[in-house]
Amino acid sequence: MKKLKINKYAFLLLQFLFFVVINKVSAQEKEEAEELVKLNYFTINNGVQYLILENSLKTGRKIEPLKNKVFQLYLNSNLPENLIGKISTDKNGNAKSFLPLSLKTAWTESSKHTFIAVALGKEDEIAAELAISKSKIKLDTLTTEGIRNVTVQVMQLTNSVWVPAADVEMKVGVQRLGGILSAGDEETYTTDSSGTASLEFTKDSLPGDQKGNLVLVAKIQDNDLYGNLIVEKTVPWGIVVKPNTSFFEQRTLWTTRFRTPIWLLIMAYSIFIGVWGTIIYLITQIVQIKKLGLAVPEKEV
């Protein structure tokens, strides 16, 4: 029985050591660095298309941006004639490129495209790839009986025909300083079979600009098929906010020289006039001394 007990403890110890070793090996595995390259496609207001490449180094749980790394971007295949551009990552590990005019024909020819990123010096290796379908997004507003409605429609180009894109998740809201504030009650909205998502605008007491304008935004983010699509529309649905300039119109110690506090002006100028008045008086006294001296011939003294 005693022997059995010893074996039991030995077994527990072995098990403990096994877990320690496994954890250590797994930790070592985690410590291995892995370079990450990701391509993102953006369309703003259905007009401007561009790509953003993200480059980082993953070590364990730590991700660090890789700066000054040069990549070549290609459209559909990494042939020299399909070169979109040569880009270099910034301090955040990001690099941006627009589609050049030389690729307009290739871009309009097809409804589906693949973007390819190749790192400089590793031309035979594809660093990242992104396939997208051409799509467009439309944002409309309608006010009926005082109720404001927002409709967003997403269309996809298939065989040269625009067809509705269903089941596309997006954010619909008002552009604020810190991000997009949902225009309705839901956080996100999804298009139906007609490619449309509709909602009632419930944020009717938001402060707008000086004319009461708000910027409505519909944003599809990181969609597998379409990438990132953003559309904006300015609507007069906000509360008119007139900037309060009274703070700057006060006479204070921190405003411009034209709004100096009266008490300070009186104090400063009285001291200034008092002292400089005395100085000017003293200079007149020197002139007086000179006159007195010149009135007396030198030999008489």
Binding site: T260, I279, Y281, Q285, I289
Partner: protein, 446 residues
Amino acid sequence: MENLPSLTKDQIIQDLLPKKFGKIGMIWTFTLISICLFGAFAYYRQLSKGLAVTNMGDYVSWGIYISNFVFFVAISLVGSLITAIFRLSNMKWATPLTRIAEIIAVSAIVFASLIIIIDMGRPDRMLNLFLHGRIQSPIMWDVIVISTYFVISLLLLYLPLLPDLKIMIKFKAQSSSILNKLYLFQGSFWRGTSEQFKVSDRAITILCITIIPVAFSIHTVTSWLFATTYRPGWDSTNFGAYFISGAFLVGAGGVVVAMFIFRKFYKLERYITEMHFEKMGRIVVMLSLLYLYFNINEYLVPAFKMKTGEEAHLKGLFTGEFAPLFWFAILVGMVIPILILVFKKGRKPLPVFIAGIMIVIGAWFKRYLIVTPTLLHPFLPMQDAPAKFHHYFPSWEEWAIAMATLAGSLLVITFFARIYPIIPIQETITEQDETCMSLPPTKQPE
């Protein structure tokens, strides 16, 4: 002036008329000119390459230049102490010291203004202060008060000089033709009539009354440049009084040093006597004790509270990076001079001179300690800043320029003493006459 009654008028004039530089005087002058030229070269580099040649940065934006500025402003205050306060208090014994004090004040204030322009990096932008200056800013107050003090100090130097100019014009054979032209231009109209003396004396009294509040303002406003900002070491309501007491001390220290040097090299033992050192020694002890009191007040109270934001700054001074300099400034600039001067034997010319030098050197480092350590310890932690931003040591260009301004101020004093009498001749003669008049009549042999 205990020996004065035995001196004749001609003896006094001959003793006090400006003299040509001797061998030591020439070496001294050329050394100062060389330092100034080297500083001018460093400033040329700063002008062409920008403030990048300095070691100032985002945090220490006020370095050795501003320390030097505060030092100059402080030492300039002596003009109001010796000339105005002593004159208004009818302390006749201080008459031989008035012109020394005034020329120190004028030269210091000139270089205080210059060092500010040097610190600006773009001197042409000085004009913007006048074109777009805001009266709300303490910097603007400083510009106004410095220029005002400069003009008043010049007048206070010039008016008592008029009777001496007449004497120098009379003894023109002892001066060069260029200097004689200068004397004629400045004082040919002085006849020494009673009306002229009346107007002149009245003007000098008005000047003495005016210069005291202006002098207090100049240093109070300089202290407010610091105290109106919320920073460890500067955030004090006591700063004006603290600066003024320090200024009086360094000014008095500067005067005793100048007294000793002029006495020795111009053979003025009969005019600047041991009595002057004895009395100035007593004044310096009083001023040292006063400044020490303000120092204890400025450091002990915050140290007792040791607020988190101020802890790094205070510990840096007491036991950290700046401790050697801090304790040097306290001991050499205040404590040791007190220990020397508090004893009668310590108030002899040489010990007073040594104490004066200690005070001036200690005061220069004290200004550095007021400016720099605070800037290195902002309330918000220094994040993402290069390692060199955590420390400050002036570049050779900064040292050269700062030393050149110090040499420049000494050069102004040197040239002034070469051109004008450093002890007022007419006032000395008048006081001797008054002393003779007040003496009991000597018995005639029967």
